[in-house]
């Protein structure tokens, strides 16, 4: 029972990340009709917003490192913490949540720049061209990050107050072995909030209503005198913000490196396909479903019967779903079927 609860939490946590990335992918596909392979890179750049903020907050003066006598080595003394020991330490400690404030405008600007500068030129081109150009863009983003930050993962600590684990077992009246890191629980809550916010925005605002109408019939909305293109551009920016925030909050769970976006991108595409191309609800549902299945498939009891199942389960489910429901779990008729 303890193991099942822990794997369920793992699955929800992983699923939260998949769902947030897949949500952005689906938004872009549903509105602009673009298959955006650079979406993983946006997630990665979001994570590096947190890395950059921490680097800025810990800008240091170089002091001769007396512990090394063979050559002149220098160690770094952070200026902020040296000048304001208490406040400075608290700000650095909370650098990951603070990075959200930086990431929102940065990711929005990046999304708009990406859409206006490059992707809009490929709206009327075949999907293969869109995939090639966005994939190329992803590689360029990756290499730029690698050039400035190196290839090694860069650990980002969660604030000390939530660095430990929550004893869920004691809370639920189970054993002491059901512990789960506080930050992962926060991430799960965060993903629920962001998903709910995106749905509420699309459901309860005029802007969202126009976007939904545009997703249904772009031409008709245009004939009504609404500049649907401008709204779709903003949606692209919004998708970038969602992926970027997912990246920022994921950094204490997975030390970010330049390749992390690509690792998530493939899985997120499978999530989108399983959920149904263009279906926001489908993307969220499939994200959590596949995350949970992946976690349960990693259990030793299951792996002892089906060795290697943890590595193929997602793709296996994708094959089965596409055979049984070719449009995915919640796919709409006519999407990518022309």
């Amino acid at each position: 029972m303890d193991a099942l609860i822990l794997q369920l939490l793992n699955g929800l946590d992983k699923g939260g990340a998949y769902a947030l990335i897949a949500l952005g992918l689906t938004l872009v596909f549903g509105t602009l009709g673009v298959v955006n392979f650079a979406h993983g890179a946006i997630f990665m750049i979001g994570a590096f917003c947190a890395v950059t903020l921490r680097k800025l907050l810990t800008i240091s003066t170089q002091v001769r490192d007396e512990s090394i006598t063979l050559f002149e080595a220098y160690k770094e003394v952070p200026i902020l913490e040296a000048k304001f020991p208490v406040v400075g330490s608290i700000i650095v400690d909370f650098s990951v949540p603070l990075a959200i404030l930086i990431a929102i405008p940065v990711m929005l600007a990046l999304g708009l720049l990406m859409e206006r500068g490059l992707i809009r030129h490929f709206y009327k081109r075949p999907h293969a061209d869109q995939i090639l150009v966005t994939f190329g863009l992803a590689i360029i983003c990756q290499e730029i990050i690698r050039h400035y930050f190196g290839a090694n993962p860069i650990p980002q600590a969660a604030p000390a107050v939530v660095a430990g684990s929550a004893n869920i077992g004691a809370f639920l009246g189970l054993g002491d072995n059901v512990v789960y890191p506080w930050w992962r629980l926060i991430y799960l809550l965060f993903s629920f909030i962001v998903i709910a916010a995106v749905f509420a925005f699309l459901q309860f605002t005029t802007f969202g209503m126009v976007v939904r109408a545009g997703m249904q019939d772009r031409e008709m909305v245009g004939l009504l005198g609404i500049d649907i293109q401008r709204r779709f551009t903003i949606v692209f920016g919004m998708a970038a913000v969602v992926a970027g925030l997912a990246g920022v909050m994921y950094t204490p769970i997975l030390p970010p490196d330049y390749h992390m976006g690509m690792d998530f991108l493939v899985l997120s595409f499978v999530v989108v396909v399983v959920g149904g191309m263009g279906s926001l609800g489908g993307a969220v549902l499939a994200g959590f479903l596949l995350g949970i299945l992946q976690s349960f498939a990693s259990m030793n009891e299951i792996k002892s019967v089906l060795p290697g199942i943890d590595q193929i389960i997602i793709y296996l489910v994708a094959v089965v779903v596409l055979l049984v429901r070719p449009r995915g779990l919640m796919g709409r008729k006519g999407v990518m079927e022309d």
Binding site: Q7, S67, K75, P255, S295
Partner: protein, 454 residues
């Protein structure tokens, strides 16, 4: 009266026959000795004033930072071989035929390749170096999968391969090759060195849980560590293979909580190790009490670059390493000084092994008096040397594995600088990590005979 016309003129047929015969006679020696034209082995530099070495390192991918450090070390070695700089470990290496005038009087030049830490890419770049750049030796790499693949290619081509960072038993075990040489230590040695230290610190009654990278290095390390921990009375609760580059290891870590194990062995390296260790700490494993004991984590293969990536999480965690920059012997100090002055920070163990391999190859050529691979192999086999940072060392002839002392290290509790992350807790003597050539963990391969590509 008959009239007989006698003529000395050659007919056209005679001309053709004569031409064919002449061509056959003059061409035959060239045909039979086409590989021996000015040379009797592949990529013989002949009368050229330069000799080219191939540095095949990961310049992209997960081990790019380690590859960059390897490349720094190779460039430094080339500098020293050509008589530039302070000479580094050339001044401490014993015995040494190196004179600082290149190798055999030829200036050393190099070409680089990107292994991408993928066997196919590594083989392709090594092939390009051998066929297009005419290298006499290929060296480098940060993965056993890559090392084994490139070693096989060099064996087939007839080029010497001096491996970089490769820790799998298989490199000098079932996949050993006559043209391949490994200076780096291996998984068996890690186990043999760690066993007594773990026993001393954690006692004889422990239950271990292994998370293992699912490829040649992970498998052999798991086997080696299990052998050494079970020899001190520990039991193995579970062995779980994890995909390379899994990223999030939470689904593999949570079962540890309920397994009854009190020790987690992470047979991971590089990015996987950084992620799995960080996540294990986040799940509170280090704070747990199991079976009345503190829960412990062991990382059998450490590197400073990895320790930097894992940050504070390495504190108090035991592992082993091939070399560490804080060693106080003359060779290590000479190398650290030379490397530090050049680049401003101390070298990693990957940089050390690559630098040493280059000097050892150059010295073997000098002793052999030639670049001919089979004679270089003979010069390296059974060669005993000192002054290169690991004490007295021998390149064993039977499997081309270097035998030397092994370092057991621990994550430092109070590091004095960003480089001062590991402390050496024990230098395990060579005798303790030695094993016979036909040891079961290394069985199944054949060194074969050397190939000079002729």
């Amino acid at each position: 009266m008959s009239k007989k016309i006698i003529t000395n003129a050659w007919s056209r047929r005679d001309m053709l026959k004569a031409s064919a015969a002449t061509a056959a006679i003059t061409g035959a020696p060239l045909f039979f000795s086409r590989h021996a034209y000015g040379a009797d082995f592949l990529n013989n530099p002949g009368d050229s004033g330069v000799v080219t070495l191939g540095f095949n390192v990961p310049q992209s991918g997960a081990y790019a930072d380690e590859g960059a450090d390897e490349l720094r070390a190779y460039k430094l070695a080339v500098k020293h071989l050509n008589g530039e700089g302070d000479g580094g470990m050339m001044n401490t290496m014993q015995p040494s035929e190196l004179k600082g005038n290149g190798i055999l009087g030829k200036k050393v030049e190099y070409v680089t390749g990107d292994t991408q830490t993928k066997s196919d890419a590594a083989r392709a770049s090594a092939k390009r170096m051998i066929e297009k750049d005419g290298v006499v030796m290929v060296t480098g790499g940060s993965s056993s999968g890559v090392a084994i693949a490139v070693q096989g290619l060099c064996q087939d081509a007839g080029i010497i391969f001096m491996s970089g960072l490769t820790h799998s038993n298989d490199t000098t075990g079932k996949d050993k090759k006559a043209n391949g040489f490994r200076h780096f230590f291996n998984a068996y040695m890690s186990g043999a060195a760690l066993g007594p230290v773990l026993e001393k610190n954690y006692g004889n009654d422990r239950r271990t849980y292994h998370l293992t990278a699912d490829y040649t290095w992970g498998w052999t390390q798991e086997e080696s560590i299990i052998a050494s921990t079970e020899a001190i009375g520990w039991t193995t609760v579970e062995k779980v293979k994890t995909p390379v580059g899994a990223g999030d290891f939470s689904q593999y870590i949570t079962p540890v909580l309920n397994s009854g194990a009190d020790t987690l062995i992470l047979n991971h390296y590089g990015k996987d190790m950084i992620n799995s260790l960080t996540q294990a700490i986040q799940f509170g494993l280090k704070d747990k009490q199991v079976n009345g004991k503190n829960f412990e984590i062991v990382v059998p293969l450490y590197s400073r670059l990895m320790a930097q990536g894992a940050g504070e999480n390495v504190k108090g965690i035991f592992g082993s390493t091939n070399w560490h920059w804080s060693l106080s012997d003359a060779g290590s100090q000479a190398f650290v000084k030379s490397f530090g002055q050049e680049y401003g920070f101390p070298p990693s163990q990957a940089a050390h092994t690559c630098y040493v391999q280059t000097l050892l190859y150059a010295d073997a050529c000098e002793r052999a008096g030639t670049f001919e691979p089979c004679q270089v192999v003979s010069a390296l086999e059974g060669h005993k040397f000192d002054g290169l940072g690991n004490g007295a060392t021998e390149y064993r002839a039977g499997d081309h594995q270097c035998f030397k002392d092994v370092l057991v290290v621990k994550g430092k509790e109070n590091p004095s600088s960003q480089f001062d992350l590991l402390e050496v807790v024990e230098v395990t003597p060579r005798a303790q990590v030695e094993y016979p050539v036909d040891h079961p963990m290394f069985a199944g391969g054949d060194l074969g005979s050397c190939n000079n590509g002729a």
